[in-house]
């Protein structure tokens, strides 16, 4: 099996980024804004409370990890949207490219773009607010891995939704992280949630990360079993997202949606 078709999808995205400040800036602009906003808020909360609670790692750390997850998701969806916006589906899908090649290319593009955001995030958080992710120790790796896998899963799922419903469905995709965030317990423990919301959070891998993060900050140990469960869940959700994308693609080929894909073909 050749990697060339997959790399072609990545190269296409690289060409687009290379010549476009409008595409490069968002890779780190939102991360920077979040660091400034949540960094100062965390400092302020530390200054007005007498508890020994560490707001900077608990709030800023959580926000930045969640930001990373969002960047990964958007790395996948934006690479896909480039084909939507340039009405490129017929050119792309009437080639030897397989669905695995194509989705693989979207994921690799996302790894590249989200890595830029991650590096900027690590440098700024450390330099400006003294928040070092290295202080999390070995747990930082599985934390990032779970969030990365989950970002990929929702990214692929979001692409499938737009492929199924048409370009206008793009507007369903942007709020997805905001919808997930209250259930994932990004800023508060899951115990705060009512039982029905807590039940939802159990199927969201990020909830295992943020619970682990808070436990770590409070001096506790991160449960390897729970992190493994989060990782396995995220892996399973990627498989489900790929299955759904393939199913939607099959439907699009059956109905002719691929060949007629445009803003007017919502059906």
């Amino acid at each position: 099996m050749s990697m060339r078709p997959t790399l072609a999808v990545v190269l296409r995205h690289f060409y687009l980024l290379r010549g476009s400040p409008a595409r490069i800036l968002p890779l780190f602009a939102w991360v920077t804004i979040d660091i400034v906003l949540w960094g100062f808020l965390s400092h302020y909360l530390t200054s007005i409370t007498s508890t020994a609670f560490h707001f900077v790692p608990a709030l800023l750390g959580a926000v930045l990890l969640w930001d990373f997850c969002i960047r990964v998701m958007q790395g996948v969806t934006l690479a896909f949207f480039e084909d939507v916006w340039s009405r490129n589906f017929l050119n792309i899908f009437a080639t030897p490219l397989t669905i695995s090649d194509y989705v693989g290319g979207l994921v690799l593009s996302s790894i590249a773009t989200s890595s830029v955001g991650l590096v900027v995030m690590l440098v700024l958080a450390s330099a400006v607010f003294g928040l070092s992710f290295f202080a999390l120790g070995a747990a930082a790796v599985p934390f990032l891995m779970v969030l990365f896998l989950f970002g990929i899963a929702i990214g692929i799922f979001a692409c499938a939704i737009v492929l199924r419903l048409g370009p206008a469905a793009e507007w369903f995709i942007w709020p997805i992280p905001a919808l997930i965030s209250p259930f994932a317990g990004v800023l508060y423990p899951l115990a705060t949630l009512p039982p029905w919301m807590r039940a939802v959070s159990y199927v969201l891998p990020p909830s295992y990360v943020f619970e682990g993060l808070r436990r770590l900050i409070q001096g506790g140990a991160v449960s390897a079993g729970r992190l493994a469960a989060g990782t396995a869940l995220a892996g399973l959700e990627i498989l489900l997202a790929c299955w759904y994308f393939r199913k939607v693609y099959r439907h699009a080929v059956k109905t002719g949606l691929i060949a007629r894909y445009s803003a007017e073909s919502l059906n």
């Binding site: 296409r12 060409y15 687009l16």
Partner: protein, 251 residues
């Protein structure tokens, strides 16, 4: 008498229905090596639906498509690796340059010695001065030449051209026709060509298929077919197919 060339494309009993509308109704035909076949018919006759089924982007309700003996449904990647297309309704992404588009699609098609192939095609389709130009700012004629260059990247055995000269001026269209005719005679290439320009079809195609309401109504040599049906020209025959298909059915 020459023995017939082997088929590069075999469409057998292809059918497609959208709800109650029958778009393609049991169409069977072949395109042989070194042959240019014109797929003609009025708007809505089923030409583009047929091409989409050949390209594997539309699933047939019934029938099969074989490219070089490979079933498009079962061995899609291998079959499409030896196929390519250019269509007026499928321009290449306008936010990439000419070179970037050719490089990306060349990689997707797994073209060997890609850099050399791109240079060759850029020269052949007179795109040298546009190699660093974003495709979105090219004129429609230049975009057509780029689409044709893309369509030739993998030296396809089967070339599908859906109104390839629709947006070209007469001089450019003549050059493109000549070049495709030459290309079709080399190697083991066959071409399926749709056009509404009957002069062009008569000049280029070895054989034509007239589609009407999703069915092949007439088939034959574009030079002799009009006379066989009591018409002065291919254009007159086309109009008859479009307006009075029943009068030609079963002829």
């Amino acid at each position: 008498m020459d023995s017939p060339q082997p088929a590069v494309l075999s469409a057998t009993n292809l059918s497609k229905r959208y709800g109650e509308t029958v778009a393609v109704d049991g169409v069977s035909f072949e395109v042989r090596r070194n042959e240019i076949v014109g797929l003609l018919g009025p708007n809505g006759a089923g030409k583009t639906t047929t091409i989409n089924m050949i390209l594997g982007v539309l699933e047939a309700d019934a029938g099969s498509v074989r490219i070089g003996g490979l079933d498009v449904t079962k061995r899609r990647s291998q079959a499409l690796a030896r196929t390519n297309f250019a269509a007026v309704y499928a321009p290449l992404p306008g936010n990439l340059t000419v070179y970037e588009n050719l490089r990306v699609f060349g990689m997707i098609y797994g073209v060997h010695a890609l850099a050399e192939r791109i240079e060759q095609l850029i020269a052949e389709f007179e795109l040298t001065k546009f190699r660093k130009t974003k495709c979105g700012v090219l004129s429609s004629g230049e975009q057509t030449r780029l689409c044709l260059a893309k369509a030739m990247l993998n030296s396809p055995n089967l070339l599908l051209l859906d109104e390839p000269t629709a947006s070209l001026d007469p001089a450019s269209a003549r050059d493109i026709r000549a070049s495709i005719r030459t290309l079709s005679m080399h190697g083991s290439r066959g071409v399926l060509w749709t056009s509404h320009n009957m002069y062009e079809v008569e000049e280029v195609c070895h054989r034509v298929l007239f589609l009407s309401h999703g069915r092949i109504l007439l088939e034959g040599d574009p030079k002799s077919l009009p006379a066989e049906h009591g018409k002065q020209s291919l254009e007159e025959l086309f109009i008859a197919v479009a307006r009075e298909p029943l009068s030609l059915e079963g002829v």
